[in-house]
Structure formats: structure tokens, C-alpha cells
């Protein structure tokens, strides 16, 4: 056997991004399928095994296709137009997992307040988050979710808020306010959700200087050691 060939649905094309930099891979599109060839037959890399492959074949030098573990050919490789995976899948600059939508037209002000609220979120660095997760008790991690932006900032939500360096926020009506701050005047807080057109699963994160960002609920990932360890910024 000279190579492994995998077949994916066209809809799963973006999944190939994880192996885009592997040398020697060729890709061909046929119908609603994508065929990938040039994979070493003994490859067990986790990136490959995570691909949503519809079929996996081993091909011999005569381009006969074998199902894994079978000794008789299943089919022969059809003629297709093969091209290098790097040109088949072009690179797009990653969008922020924490997409920022800065408020432009509304000058919202925040001011220190004596009214205390329970901490609900912390904005910290990916480095601190990874260090915390490395040895944090699972019972604490399981209650948290996180979102990362390309600058390496991480917003962690859930209680109890983990103890680590960072900026702590309280939650009120889907609004994350810096701990110890409130709107000036406070009544503005009641108008913000309606004014911003925020969806129910979206958080509005306000900075002390009044700048704010919309953070959609779907960008949050449940915290687990593997999810945190495998998170990297570009």
C-alpha cells in the first residue's frame, strides 16, 4: 500500500484546514465530495482522525482502493483533477472569536459605585487562563465558559469566577460591567439592552472608558482542560 485516501462531504471542506500544511497532500472535488490523497498509510495523527471522513481507503500503486483491514479491492480510483491542498484551500485571516462591535454613536459613561455585585466574568490573558486550567479542580472548570480574541485576551464567564490576574465584571441584564462601576447615570443601564438591539444570548461588555463590545453567545466554549490547552491565537 502506498497511501491513504479519505473522502469528505463538500460541506465539511473547512475541516481540511487542520491538515492544510501537511506536505504532499492532493485534493480533488467530485460531485458533493472531496477526495484527499497522499496521506502516509500508517498515519494516526489526531488531526487526521478528527476529520469527518465519509470513507477511508488504502490505495496501492495500481490505484486500487481497499477498505482498511480488507485484502480485496473495493474499487479503483477514478480519474479526477488533483491539486495541492494549499491552493485548494486558501487562507482567510481568522476572525476574532470575540468579535468586537464598538459603539460609535453613543457616548456612554461609567462611574465608580458603592453598590457591589457578584463577580460573573473575568477578562484575562490566554497565558493566565492556561496556567489556571492546568491544575484547577474540574468541579470549578465545568462551571465556566470562555471566548478568546486574536489579541490573546480571554473572557471567562461563570461562577465562581476563577482567581487569577485580570479585570472582573458583574452581570446585569446581559450587560457585563467592570466590577465597582455603574452607568452614569445608573438609569442608562435600563435603556441599553433595547437601544443596542442585543439578542438574548449576546453579552455586552463595557470597559471603564465607556467603550463596549457585543459578544455573541455562540463564541463561548465550555471550559475543559483540553479545550483550553488546544486554544491558540494566531
Amino acid at each position: 500500500m502506498k497511501e491513504m485516501i479519505i473522502v469528505l462531504a463538500m460541506a465539511d471542506m473547512t475541516a481540511l484546514g487542520s491538515i492544510r500544511t501537511w506536505p504532499g497532500l492532493l485534493v480533488a472535488a467530485t460531485g458533493d465530495e472531496i477526495w484527499v490523497r497522499g496521506i502516509a498509510p500508517d498515519t494516526t495523527d489526531i488531526q487526521l482522525r478528527k476529520l469527518p471522513a465519509k470513507h477511508t481507503f488504502l490505495a496501492d500503486t495500481q490505484e486500487r482502493l481497499f477498505l482498511p483491514g480488507k485484502h480485496t479491492p473495493h474499487d479503483t480510483l477514478k480519474k479526477m483533477s488533483w491539486e495541492a491542498i494549499a491552493s485548494f484551500i486558501t487562507v482567510e485571516l481568522p476572525v476574532s472569536a470575540m468579535p468586537a462591535h464598538a459603539g460609535e454613536d453613543y457616548a456612554v459613561r461609567l462611574a465608580p459605585t458603592t453598590v457591589t455585585g457578584e463577580p460573573f466574568a473575568i477578562l484575562t490573558s490566554l497565558e493566565h487562563w492556561k496556567a489556571y486550567a492546568d491544575t484547577a479542580p474540574l468541579i470549578r472548570l465545568q462551571r465556566l465558559s470562555f471566548a478568546v480574541c486574536e489579541t490573546g485576551e480571554v473572557l471567562i464567564i461563570g461562577t465562581p469566577v476563577p482567581s487569577m490576574p485580570g479585570k472582573v465584571f458583574t452581570l446585569r441584564d446581559n450587560i457585563l460591567l467592570p466590577a465597582g462601576y455603574d452607568f452614569d447615570p445608573p438609569v442608562i443601564g435600563q435603556l441599553i439592552p433595547k437601544w443596542s438591539g442585543t439578542e438574548s444570548d449576546t453579552l455586552l461588555l463595557f470597559r471603564v472608558d465607556g467603550q463596549w463590545e457585543k459578544i455573541p453567545g455562540q463564541v463561548f466554549v465550555r471550559a475543559s482542560r483540553s479545550a483550553i490547552r488546544l486554544t491558540n491565537t494566531f
Binding site: D134, T135, P137, L138, S226, L230
Partner: protein, 210 residues
Amino acid sequence: MTLTEFISSLINEGKVTVAPFIKPFDPDDIRLANVHLKQHYDDDSTDMPGQVPPYDPEAALWAACYLYRAVQFIQIRRLGEDDIKAHLLPFTGVHSPSAVYAADLTLRYMPGLFDLAKGLGPGDPLVKELEIMAAQWPLSMAAVAAIVPEDLSLIMQHPSLKIAYIDRIIHARDFRKCRHPECLPLVQEALGSHAAILWPEFEIDLTVHT
């Protein structure tokens, strides 16, 4: 089902079938099973706290074979005590944190096996054998309330295994194991000042018992 298929199905689907008779594992099957187990070690270690112990292939393979045979003995009831003694062999390698973690890759599924064995009588030789084995692998039996470990030294001497064990006994909400003298301070540290949120019953229970 081969040993390799057994391991793969256990890890990926959480369900297994076994051959309806006992025969030695094919050498090629053993070779592939080793590859799968090492891969599982690499994958699983990303979810473990801290730095896991180095891989112990002997312990990993022993545990996988043991589990396979144990399932067979539950399924094939005509097999007797002599067969159990001949095929459910204890681990003969060095007991170390590496062996504990490598064996745990498959032995952690033993609690499900105990559920299957519930239908057998308490005096059944298979149940006795499983209980003897289980007592020697406390990390993997953390979720089995009936197995109360006597010696946690191998777990407690390794930072990663120690945290993983505390995680598991908290997850199992096992008061008895959490009150073990070696574990109680670690459980309290894990809960911190948030026990009332994370595990209210534990806080109440400590109030009653201390």
C-alpha cells in the same frame, strides 16, 4: 471482536462486544492494540491535570486484556473458577504512577463492568476476583462507592494523578472517599470558599460529622 476493535469501540463509543470463546490474542492484534493505546494516552493526557506520568505500555496492554477477558467471563457463564485464574492474571509489572495512569486508560471503564456483574452472586468467583483487582487500582475505581482504597500512595505521590483522583471522587459525590484523611484537605482546597455553591451537601455533611 479483536482486542483492537474492543479498545477502539470502548473509547469511541463506550460499548463493546467480545469473542464468544477464549483464545489467545493474535500478535498482530496486540501490535495494533498497542498503537491504539498509545494514541489514547496522547489524547487523554490533554484532559488530565498538569503533566501526566510517562507512558507504561505494559500496564496499558495488561489492563486492556484484563478488561476484555473480564467482559468475556461475565458473558460466558459456563467458564469456571479455573478459567478465571488462568486468564484474569494480575499485573506483574512495576506498580508506579506510570502504570496507574496507563492501566487507567481502560480500567476506568470497570465501574460499568461492576454494574454488569451485579446480577452475579456476591460469592461468585468472578466478583471476588474483580474486587481484589479493583482494590489495587483506586484511581480507576474512584467512581465505585463500594471499593474503598487502603493505599493511595502511588496516586498521592504524583501531582497529576492526585488532582485527577480528587476530581473523580468529587464528581462521584462520594462522601466516604472525600473524608479519607489524605483526601479531605485536598477536597476542601478544591471547593475553597465556594462549597455552598459547588457541593452544598458536602459542607452540611462536614458540619455534622466534624
